[in-house]
């Protein structure tokens, strides 16, 4: 059973990564690179501020900054070269993330006792999209590089809590369905937003607002397609591998 689950997850993760990588290259990567140009401009016009920011971020840079901005004493961190290597690593990360999400989807389907088909796969994948993409994005909108924000650990903590609470809430509402479960589920859906996300910055930025808005919308769109392909392909591959196994037996 575990072999069937992992095989189906590998297939689904791969197909979703192919689709999502293509969309990322076409829709979001150009915006990220454009935003980095603004970030670089800001750091060259304000060198003192920039060097402070770089230290706080642990020597982080986006590959477009002048090495002198790092103060020269810290060795630059490894990062993929611009162009093809960067695209290759983005695709690889998408593959790793896609297979990871597909495995989680498979685990949840099995734990809930649902037979994975493209239909149930898609249903659970939409729940996955709501839990890890839409709900966290309500509090922490998708950000381009250079948009200043609250400390990383706080945002990661809120993201994980929101994703977990939303997933649990959706489970209670959609699968448990008793009055008390639905009430509890609604509380879980709303609680992270009442507690409040770490504050987004209202500081002025050289980055055009249109870029940020476009990026947020495209990011959510890509996340939805990513999840939809994972769900459909997982159900399809699970059925396919099951048919093969019975044919061999």
């Amino acid at each position: 059973m575990i072999i069937r689950l992992v095989s189906a997850a590998l297939v689904a993760g791969f197909l979703a990564a192919v689709v999502a990588s293509g969309l990322q290259f076409a829709l979001t990567s150009p915006l990220i690179i454009a935003a980095e140009r603004y970030e670089t401009q800001a750091s060259t016009t304000a060198p003192h501020f920039a060097s402070l920011v770089v230290r706080v971020h642990g020597g982080h840079d986006h590959g477009t900054k002048d090495p002198a901005v790092n103060g020269g004493e810290v060795a630059p961190e490894w990062q993929p070269g611009p162009g093809l290597p960067r695209m290759a690593f983005t695709a690889l990360a998408t593959l790793v993330g896609g297979v990871g999400y597909a495995l989680l989807l498979g685990a949840v389907l099995l734990a809930c006792g649902r037979e994975p088909t493209p239909e149930t796969g898609l249903r659970f994948a939409i729940a996955g999209f709501l839990a890890v993409a839409l709900a966290p994005a309500l509090g922490l909108p998708p950000e381009l590089p250079g948009m200043e924000a609250a400390p990383l650990a706080e945002r990661q903590f809120w993201w994980v809590m929101t994703a977990a609470a939303t997933a649990m809430g959706l489970y209670l509402i959609a699968l448990r369905r008793s009055t008390i479960a639905i009430a509890g589920g609604l509380v879980l859906l709303v609680a992270p937003h009442l507690a409040g996300a770490p504050e987004t910055s209202h500081a002025a930025s050289a980055l055009p607002a249109g870029y940020a808005a476009q990026f947020a919308a495209r990011s959510l769109g890509i996340a939805f397609v990513f999840w939809a392909v994972i769900g459909l392909a997982y159900g399809w591959a699970w059925t396919l591998f099951g048919r093969k196994a019975t044919a061999h037996a």
Binding site: M1, I2, L5, V6, A9, Q24, T28, S29, I32, H57, G58, G59, H60, H62, G63, E77, W78, Q79, P80, R86, F89, T90, L92, A93, T94, V96, G97, V99, G100, Y101, A102, L103, L104, G106, A107, L110, A111, A133, P136, A137, L140, P141, P142, E143, L144, P145, A149, L152, R155, Q156, W159, F215, R218, S219, L220, I222, A223, F226
Partner: protein, 58 residues
Amino acid sequence: MTTSTLVLAGTRTNERLGAVLVAAFLGLGLVFMAGFAPAMALHNAAHDFRHTQNFPCH
């Protein structure tokens, strides 16, 4: 008859539980690696994916 059915159901439940745990563990590990791992090299490699999938990033 009853016993064998019970045993069968027992092993199937165990197998299912095992599969759920292994898949959940592997899945969380991969998602953590792609979306959250703090190592700078991993962060830089996955940078554009993290931004697009709205993982909190630097």
